[in-house]
Symmetry: C2
Subunit: 282 residues, 2 copies
């Protein structure tokens, strides 16, 4: 039986993957992806308190990884989440909900886990639900995260590109992570490995953007609208790529604005997922 | 010969170690400490630009680890740093200067290192200068960092306590890290290992504070003023401990204020060392 539930709040950045290779495994703690992405100042803020439902922007919904996290923690709680990010469009909202729930529920119920343990619980929940492979570890780290080795914190290994660009993005619609990840990922993974090798040889934002654009093309995931937007940003002198996995185009600096779009604007979140409440010893 | 130097700015949190065990080694990348501490919103902000001197709060000075970092990066640069933290009092100012210089000089000169590589360079500079063993990796991570295994990012391993307390601190004077670390550290390290084991069994802020207080006593480092301040905070119902290595007392929440002190007040810095300038691709 759980202890009395306090109220706790957490923030987790959104995460756009630029390119990746899939590394499935029987053990969810070792399964994951290699690749690179951007942790966004636009993210998910959520509060855990007494109750038993999940709401996102005021709407009740079911998110499998959140249920799994609460089950692992053995906590029954209400989760109220707010985000400016769309679901299913490549921003890692399900990963953010899973990690935020882990952080806040641990604090609210006094479960006594470390940050690595909470990240691992959320990572495993995402992998088992089939909703993501690498968002959670990237969201826990923040910055411009590079997944060197797949898996949760116990088995995986992270690095980061030292850069803090302004970011812009536009979304044209969803793309099912489950469908892509459950299909044939061989070609996609080969393209992802090639992009990662180039990035590690020259770890800059420009190499990341170039690798991301090449990846989307080689992985065969570009839709017509996405292809057009990337081309228009380039025609205006900028660099843009596609968020994996969603019909979302992102650009660094003012690339999308310069091409005549009306994008959402945000920054890099350097901190990664974290508790927001001030816990004070009395 | 280095490329033309742009201007780049970095921020690195201060870091208070609560307890530690020393793990010297011939290779500075594997040398380090195990233990736990707090990354502070009070830290070092610095700018790297053309020139060749280091200033801290307007005063020219020599800091061995900074020289070593610039030498490793093969960059000649001026470093202008500002901090509200005192030097030599247990706030990891030399580590912050080393890591901040690595981050900013890498960006300014286009050296092309990843964040792990820059952390490793700063860590090795600190170890070789004898000014610290574990501050740099803790400052790179942010939060309430736990050093599970000693060393830079290649060999070491980090975790964190999920907590975001308000912090207070007062400083009564310096304590030489070089002198303590170059002396007999066996008893100190045994106390540090014991505190870490307890913290990992119950990873909460309260266990961290209790372990830190016990460590300072067992390591034989308490001065009279420090002992008195800790006792007065406890008499007022709070928890306080001593920063390693300095004559500094820190408390969570309003512990020092409640005991009649006029402490500096800050928060946890969740992000860790980072570039501050917005790097935009044109």
């Amino acid at each position: 039986m759980q202890q009395a539930l306090e109220k706790a709040t957490a923030f987790v950045p959104g995460h756009i993957t630029g390119f990746f290779s899939a590394h499935p495994a029987a053990d969810p703690a070792t399964a994951g992806s290699r690749g690179a992405g951007l942790a966004l100042s636009d993210g998910v803020q959520l509060t855990v308190s007494a109750g038993s439902s999940l709401s996102l922007n005021g709407e009740i919904l079911d998110v499998d990884p959140v249920d799994r996290v609460l089950e692992t923690l053995d906590v029954t709680a209400a989760v109220e989440a707010e985000t400016p990010l769309p679901l299913g469009a490549g921003f890692g909202v399900s990963g953010a909900l899973a990690l935020g729930t882990a952080l806040a529920a641990n604090a609210a119920a006094g479960c006594g886990y470390t940050e690595n343990e909470l990240t691992e619980i959320a990572h495993c929940a995402e992998v088992e639900a089939g909703t993501g492979l690498g968002d959670v570890v990237a969201q826990a780290r923040g910055g411009v995260p590079v997944r060197l080795e797949p898996g949760g914190p116990t088995h995986g290994r992270m690095d980061g590109i030292p850069a803090t660009p302004q970011l812009e993005y536009v979304t044209f619609g969803e793309l099912s992570t489950e469908t892509v990840l459950s299909g044939e990922t061989e070609q996609l993974s080969a393209a992802g490995e090639a992009a990662l090798e180039k990035l590690l040889a020259e770890p800059t934002l420009e190499t990341f953007m170039r690798g991301s654009k090449t990846f989307a093309r080689e992985a065969g995931l570009l839709t017509e609208e996405v292809r057009t937007a990337i081309a228009e940003v380039e025609a205006a002198g900028g660099q843009a790529a596609m968020a994996m996995l969603g019909q979302t185009v992102f650009a660094v600096g003012g690339g999308l604005s310069a091409a005549g779009y009306e994008p959402a604007v945000c920054r890099i979140d350097a901190a990664g997922g974290r508790l927001c409440n001030t816990e004070q010893l009395e």
